[in-house]
Symmetry: C2
Subunit: 397 residues, 2 copies
């Protein structure tokens, strides 16, 4: 480019060019805070990361080798938006065993569960949409739906999960379009929704014509107690079920799935087609190889042993070291503890102090879509990522 042209060029004022929805696209203050947790020397209880020791590396490597050896043409070419059919068939079968009524036409493979949440946003959320979430709830769902224009109402949780008794009154006030539920080892609350509550939620959805997004990343990670029937098994025509390999195999495989009524899946396919065409066949075929190798049952059992140890170590350390007026959940599975501190303590305010002392957590406010005060005195602690010795070391400080 000539100097003359350089001079003629007018810098674009990008802020004036963005679409109307872009102001909703914010890096939460929390995400900014959390960049601090990546500093060397910080022991982070903040993330939601699986333990790298739990990745079945040998099996993953063997699967990639086999797929590239035998089916490279299919694995490396463009693939269908719907997903790799043998993987979908396998998932359907294992989900049916788990109580999820799924046929191949009910399933789409997504690039991680976040993409499933985004598809829900693309298809169902605009500026007229009210979403009912649990309070607290998953940060990533709020981020995408807020971008698509969502307003929110929240239903509190207690030790049996979502307070379904409050739904009719909330609906009268807010006319929400759908309810977002994390029924197993809730992120961040750590609680599991009882069967009674699930049934009550299913009945509510059917009676009021609302639908449910059942997000179940941790369902396989139960360390005690018995599986509870998935919501989708109680209200199959009203429920989107989201599953993923991220917590049982590895997040880097980017394979997740949505189970939903067939008519909606066909719209999901169009929404995904415009988003990113397809999810890598190589990844899907490798996941399928791993699943059908027969290693999954033992692997999940091992992961459960590892995470149970870590949960127990954290609970023991909490019992030993936390002041009496601090309370926390005792999750039957999943990755997180939810901690409530006395109301004189603001967990966002003490966050920097915690960082100075070498430990990070997520302040509770991050998990609420509306009023900031809702989470002021709470925090989420992750127990899956660090080994127990490290966790003890931190909590002994």
């Amino acid at each position: 480019m000539s100097e003359e042209n350089q001079k003629k060029s007018t810098l674009i004022d990008w802020d004036s060019r963005y679409a109307g929805r872009v102001p909703y696209l914010k890096s939460s203050a929390i995400r900014d805070l959390l960049t601090l947790t990546n500093q060397p020397g910080i022991i982070s209880l903040a993330g939601g990361l699986p333990a790298p020791e739990a990745f079945p590396v040998t099996e993953i490597k063997a699967a990639f080798n086999e797929v590239l050896e035998k089916e490279s043409t299919k694995a490396l070419q463009y693939g269908t938006t719907e997903g790799y059919i043998p993987l979908k068939e396998y998932l359907c079968e294992s989900m049916r065993k788990y109580g999820v009524p799924a046929e191949v036409g009910n399933v789409i493979i997504t690039n991680g569960a976040q993409q499933g949440l985004d598809m829900v946003g693309r298809l169902f959320v605009d500026e007229k949409t009210v979403v009912c979430t649990e309070g607290p709830t998953y940060l990533g769902a709020l981020q995408t739906w807020t971008f698509h224009g969502a307003k929110y109402c929240t239903v509190p949780i207690d030790k049996e999960g979502m307070r379904t008794d409050l739904l009719p009154e909330l609906f009268r006030q807010h006319h929400f379009k759908f309810i977002y539920a994390l029924p197993n080892f809730q992120n961040p609350g750590g609680v599991t929704m009882s069967l009674e509550r699930r049934q009550e939620l299913a009945n509510f959805a059917q009676k009021y014509g609302v639908f449910i997004i059942e997000d179940d990343p941790y369902g396989n990670l139960r360390y005690e107690g018995k599986d509870v029937a998935p919501i989708v098994s109680l209200a199959k025509d009203n429920t989107f079920y989201l599953g993923t390999v991220s917590k049982t195999l590895a997040p880097g495989l980017r394979c997740a799935w949505v189970v939903a009524p067939e008519a909606v899946i066909s719209k999901n396919v169009l929404a995904k087609q415009s988003s990113d065409l397809f999810t890598s066949m190589l990844l899907q075929m490798a996941v399928h190889k791993i699943y059908t190798s027969g290693m999954l049952k033992d692997h999940v059992a091992n992961v459960r042993v590892l995470y149970k140890e870590r949960r127990d170590a954290m609970l023991t350390a909490m019992d030993k070291h936390m002041p009496k007026d601090v309370i926390w959940t005792r999750p039957e599975g999943g990755l997180f503890l939810w901690v409530t501190v006395p109301s004189i303590v603001n967990t966002t305010e003490i966050f920097e102090k915690a960082i100075e002392n070498g430990v990070a957590y997520v302040p509770g406010v991050a998990f609420y879509p509306n009023k900031v005060e809702d989470g002021l005195h709470t925090m989420r602690l992750n127990f899956s990522y660090n080994n127990p010795e490290k966790t003890k070391k931190v909590l002994n400080v």
Copy 2:
């Protein structure tokens, strides 16, 4: 679920639940037609698929093995939304050689180039947005931007590419926000934009404060003639440059990138975070290994030889067999020929007849956002996927 509850359940009328933008989310009639091309026995000149013989399977397998051997913890864990820094550094360096001014802060890795186009849609397109595309243009860009609310005006192309002389008048009429250009071996037109036209486009963008999306999937696939400077090198503050590994390595690796002003990349990061959190580190690290193994130069040279042969075979067969009043482009690279038939022939109407005769193409109407008549007498033919013998066989029918 009890029978009683089954009876109580009311089926949801999904159509009444969709967001306001969903009516824009259509499977084009063309995509439906194209499902016909997957029938056994059909030789398809319709897709935009690279030749599977061109996938560097051995190198890809070695790369996955090495990454999983040495860096599995990083490759399989959650990754950053921005992308794998060593890959971004490599891309910046090679793009600078190619004339694209890129630093790491100017780049985001996307899950294929379609995701880059969707990011542009998320950030810049709403119902008030007019987009100026070449006519004809890439189908996938139209699909995502239409979903985000775009209206269109089109600027025709001739053998030197976009008719940039028409831009000021088009702008006066339509006040478009940005211009979408495929300057190298255009999809579907097959033409390459001359340096003069690129400079004129750059000048126009700078003078009128519009920006340019420069989509360059085929830039490396030149079979004759000399590289022309990328538009971004002429208007770096006004241009988004989109690159991808899909056509030179393999689509199944799902690695592409956007180069843009740093302020916009930070918004892109937020948009991607809400879409799918991150692109698989395993895929990015494998691509990085392949790129830095030193194989790329020879590999691209080989692919060029293969595709040049296929282009020449198709051109020879066209010369030999096509009626005199049919004309077509003679692309210097890329994957496509653009064919114009006499105005008494409607390429959509004869499509089914072509399928009956065992050959598929894409009717021209698919590539125009507005008036259907624009593409009635044109079609796109792909020469990269089938081998020359097959192509000859088809055209000899």
